[in-house]
Amino acid sequence: MAVFEAILELADDHLVLGHRISEWCGHAPMLEEDLAMPNMALDLIGTARTLYDRAAMLEGKGRSEDDMAYLRGEREYRNCLLVERPNEDFAHTMLRSLYFAAFMRPFWLATLEMTTDETVRGVAGKAEKEMAYHIRHAGEWVIRLGDGTEESARRMRDAVAALHIYTGELFESSPAATEAEAEGVLPVRADMRAAWEDVIGQVFAEALLEAPEVPYPQTGGRKGLHGEGLGHLLAEMQSVYRAHPGATW
């Protein structure tokens, strides 16, 4: 296991979620959200690009950022399962972003305090602010849908029931992440739980939602064991690059 794989995991989280959110582009329920979602997708994809570049450099085998994103199959992707979950509806989409950003914000803040990797520090400084906004944007929607109409509240509860089981994986460190933590590159993922629960608790209280008990959390993404949806996502995302290898624009 190597540190570059831990950075690759982070990059995969951001690229896959960024791609998922970008699927709303042109389909959002109102123009304002049709711009807001690609904004957030681009934040995530921007972070992924820098992290892929860094991972490729640390690996030292001459792979590029594009090779990392476009030439790995689903079993080689190391993203957590939460980020690959399908968009379904606005409730699922916003909750997924809230869960993710509520983890990443304290993660990047902790990274700023401790990392020895200057590139990772640079990413953390920028991404910390982006995640603060994602929490706000997604959180305000979760509150309004949860405490909204009968239908919006039902959809919000369905989203919690569907997605909460994937949140435990956020706090797990793979062997690669454990090594990156030991080497002082990334903070310990489990340490983010209090901050995460604080944000989710505040939003859920206003949204009239309850966090369910999860006796059997769903994990496996860090081992390359993904849901069916990731293969479809990658097939779409990688099709142009695979049809025209090395293409630039």
């Binding site: 123009l31 304002e32 807001a36 904004n39 305000e140 309004r144």
Partner: protein
């Protein structure tokens, strides 16, 4: 849609020291969402350092039918423009 998400006018201040300028409008359910929507729609290219939103319904506008009486009387009062003074060279650029 418009009942659940009324129209808001958006004002952006590009830099400290400048005033907020009207840039357009957005639909949003309430004031918090309106500021978020304004941020997402109108500040994507670094246009602003501050955002104001105002419900369009709260804006009182002059009546277009009164445009003549409101604005035409100023047309022949050119002495109100500060163009009749020689600016001393020492003052420099104004």
């Amino acid at each position: 849609m418009t009942q659940a998400t009324p129209l808001w006018e958006v004002f952006i201040r590009p830099r400290n020291g400048l005033s907020h300028k009207h840039v357009g409008s957005i639909h949003a359910a309430d004031e918090v969402m309106a500021v978020q929507a304004a941020r997402d729609v109108y500040t994507r290219r670094g246009e602003g350092t501050s955002i104001w939103v105002v419900r369009s319904a709260d804006i009182v506008a002059s009546d277009p039918d009164q445009a003549g009486e409101n604005f035409e009387p100023t047309a022949d009062k050119i002495y109100r423009h500060p163009t009749f003074y020689e600016i001393p060279e020492d003052v420099g650029h104004m």
